[in-house]
Amino acid sequence: MKSLADRPVNPVVGVPVSHESAQAHVTGTALYTDDLVVRSRNVLHAWPVQAPHAHARILAMRTQPALEVPGVVKVLTASDVPGINDSGTKHDEPLFPSEVMFYGQAVCWILGETLEAARLGAEAVGVDYEPLPSLLTLTEAMAAGSFQGHQPTLTRGEPDQALETAAHRFSGVFEFGGQEHFYLETHASLAVIDDAGQVFVQCSTQHPSETQEIVAHVLGLSSHQVTVQCLRMGGGFGGKEMQPHGFAAVAALGASLTGRPVRLRLNRTQDITLTGKRHPFHARWEAGFDDDGRLQALKATLTSDGGWSLDLSEPVLARAMCHVDNAYFIPHLEVHGRIAKTNKTSQTAFRGFGGPQGMLVVEDILGRCAPLLGIEPSELRRRNFYASGQSTPYGQPVRHAERLTAIWQLLLERADVARRRGHIADFNAAHPHLKRALGITPVKFGISFNLTAFNQAGALVHVYKDGSVLINHGGTEMGQGLHTKMRQVAATALGVPLAFIRLAPTRTDKVPNTSATAASSGADLNGGAVKNACEQISSRLADVAARKLNIHPDDVRFDDGKVTGIGFHDRHLTFAEVVHDAYFQRVPLWAAGYYRTEGLHWDSSRMQGEPFKYFSYGAAVSEVEVDRFTGTYRQLRADIVHDVGDSLSPLIDVGQIEGGFVQGAGWLTLEDLRWDVSDGDGRGRVATQSASTYKLPSFSEMPEEFNVHLFERATESGVVYGSKAVGEPPLMLAISVREALREAVAAFGPGGRSVELASPATPEAVFWAIEKLTPQSAKNSRPSTTTSGP
């Protein structure tokens, strides 16, 4: 058996190639779920009735008036559900609720001949509500003791004692905002009862197997009666890991009841008001440092805002707690975690899955404490890096910790930091109303699902008699380039050109019981499975070729569609010839591949174990310029060094790093989710429910100069072709933007002062941070913020 990490000569992995659908993307011919509607006949369209209360009991619902609207075919309510009326796995998310738990929750769905008919039908439904008291903010929920799920504690050492004896001791509170996924493609499902009588759901889902399970349990069917297919998604980012299931179930229920295809596509407003987002967090902390700035102890309580149901809040919280150390060794630590239950959308997975929130807490602490310790912030960070041989607070050795220092050093050189600091000092001295600054932050991110069982994957590989190859695996494509990488893995494992490999859409009837394409693990897990399947076939073909070439099977080599022997230079067979021979020798030409990540264990009650296969490392330096008058700013430059192991697909990986960084910068600077927290009629309504009120980065938020370097000679043993996951870790590199803003704000002040910065650091937040530092401008009185200083 070949080692997972070893590459053959002339591998197809590692070659920069475009996204496998790039040409279809640019010509508008790549199909997404909702594009299939025009290809289907007789389709019904679904529209929800959304409750206008944050919390209310449903007293009565009159659906008859909707049925009188021309074109309305059916109103779906709880009484139509033959199976379990729940859209989640924890049975706390009724699909058709009797109690409204958040403003805008769907209480029933209308099916119409047209979308307009369904919408008008929804307007005609009469619902009597008894409004109930609601909790919206973290502050309200904490005061009311409204929590859900486990309340884990992560501890190491003697934090109280260490705080007592620490030379410097600080404390603070930091509450920061969530993030709307804003995948460009909103949730979409198209359900039909197909020719064979099974329920077939085309769905924009990151987790087809779970979508299948939920559809089955809502319809009271077995899983084998439901097939879910995901052609591709127009972005997922975690927002389609749990959230699609209920919508798919509504479409499937409608198709089952009417016998007609049912399309359920959320418009943007519905998507923002119905689906979960990144968890906002509240952190209360106390930290101790020695005279050299080394962290001695950290005590913190992290409270996430889980919204109305548990969803993925527990594993998100666990990951946050496992990343509150980020890249830093903290000998004594105690972190408590809680999930607030509020009357909001059910907050869920979002790229980083709690990791960003955990890291943001410690980076905020370091950013705030550095001036008080009299240590330059990037130096303070460097001094606290993990060293080889040290372990995380949850007991996992930090393998390759030395890469942190190596990456940091490389970054400082590549980004020309020393020279630029001088230029920035000159610029700032010459510009009273503009200040520039650098922020430099590291990332250490654990790869694998915290829950060990999810770390498995399957693949199905067919080789046809002409030598062409069709691969299928359990992962979904949401733009991250997974399918591109899987083609490269298969081409490498079979020793054929990339053009030999076609990838078929992800379906639950091809590979069963798959894990979500999430936790950055898509390529690690499915790549392992694809490689395994290909190697089964390849080893059978080696026997066939060995007989023909009259050599030992171990000496057969597959390379670029040619099959030859070790040391041969003038004789080879074509891959197609060998395949052809294999068929006539009755050698199976297909294989099911399987992969499970070795060596993982995790005790979620003790918060101890080795949940991660490895850590991803990276570091970024960002330069910003802040305008004193308005608090507006620009990102002048970003430089990144990131560890993706030996890249499977460099163009794809660089794209993930850049895209993750900009998305992270959006979360920390621009993307400002607001709810109506007043006591008025709109209490609980998402105030930013459209693209005109919720702003994500546009081209003007891209760093004007943007340099990404992949860390070299970074082979990760035990992972497919020596690579590392890349989906999530780069998002957290954007903390450097926030820290640069903090430094630029500080540059307007007298120096040596701790700067508090709200998150997101909108221009308004930056403006108030400057105002606080510069008392001569006291005419602009500052509103209270949610953070309080050390």
């Binding site: 010509t27 493609e185 972005g235 459209s690 546009s698 003007s700 005419k779």
Partner: protein
Amino acid sequence: MDRIKVVVNGQACDLGGTGSHTRLLDWLRGAGLTGAKEGCAEGECGACAVLVARPDGPGRSRWTSVNACLPPALAFDGQEIITAEGLGSVAGPCAEEDLHPVQREMADRGGSQCGYCTPGFICSMAAEYYRPDRNPAQAQKETGTGAVGEEHAADHECGPNGFDLHALSGNLCRCTGYRPIRDAAYALGTPPATDPILERQTRPAPAAQPTRTGAGGARFLRPETLGEVLTILQEYPDTKLVAGATDLGVEVNLRHYRPPLVLAIDRLEELRSLKFDDGLIEIGAALTLSDVERGLDGRVPVLDQLFPQFASRLIRNAATFGGNLATGSPIGDSAPVFLALDAQVVLASADGEREVPLSEYYTGYRQSVRKPHEVLRAVRIPAPLAEKAAFYKVAKRRFDDISSVSVAIALQVTDGLVASVRIGLGGVAATPIRATATEETLAGRPWAAGTISEAAGVMAGEGTPIDDMRASALYRSAMLRQALLKFHADKAPAAEVAR
């Protein structure tokens, strides 16, 4: 009823039977052209962008990128459209690969990840690729001086090939972080003279033609003359006038507004004048902002500050000043500028025309002195313009965002004294307003830090700003004050500003 048709990707298609509220996007998708997508349904994300052949001076046309999610399909009666599918194609069993240069660069450079926004980006990028005045030499000159930190350095976001990155300001991508898209844009060459899409620009755009369709409560009319419009308005005062549909489209899509009669006025010659003489500049109400930007060619510098900050290129290619002023939103960006320019609006009715100072035009939230049977025909700016003028927009995002506060200032200094000053404000009251108390504080006083500081304090008290999701009331007030300080810092010699 006339035959209603549109040419899409070179093929004539029948628009007959299309509803008056059916958007171009839905019509295209229903016709099987699913490349254009709905991302937001309000003209913010550009996933729906397509190209339309629009007039470009005598005898020429220009491929213009517009959002398909906002305008009614019927507004394109007689027009020519190209979608991403029409620009190029992938290899298939019966077809050779034939990618357009824009598609080639985007595909090869990693410009697409999930691909959902990509067809829209392709169309915006193609419009810029074919822009007749895209000029590599000019670009090099400009980028040479566009050092970061310079005021309005963002205006220099321009590639060595003359590609203006603002062409993509109305397209959102959630995946890539934009760098590969920028690289693709900047790598584009010049279209070969044989390119039929380029060649099309050497002929006039399809002539305006009347459209009359629909029945009962959903009619769409495009009259041939202003006179006809005014007659219809007399008879049906609840008619909805539409030009670029960038406001109406949002109302239709998000608030499900279904006006019974939509009257398209954007191709009426009477509303498309652009005149300048010694005493006056007149801008036709139905010219798009992009039309005006090209036509004025820098004659009103403060408008050149406004243009890149007004929504996005996709919107500016459809939206009109007439629409922006007539809808009367307190956060419309053009009103503060026209207030500072002391503009008049020209209202036409069957009885004739009247001129109203913009400062007297608004009477309440989205209310004005315009009567239901009147059309806002043009806006007039008196000359000469004040020598010092600026437009400041404060928003969360640098471009393509809605103002938290916008401030336009036009000020004349004579012999060191403020000889005249007009300040227009947006986002701080139910209507766009003049900062009259601040103007009074400044008038006749020295153009100096002391006066400015005092006036800035007055400015902070202008209007009645509110807290909302965009900004707090306190920040809005602070920004009023800061705008005046910034104006002085920008416009006064450095020595005067030093504090």
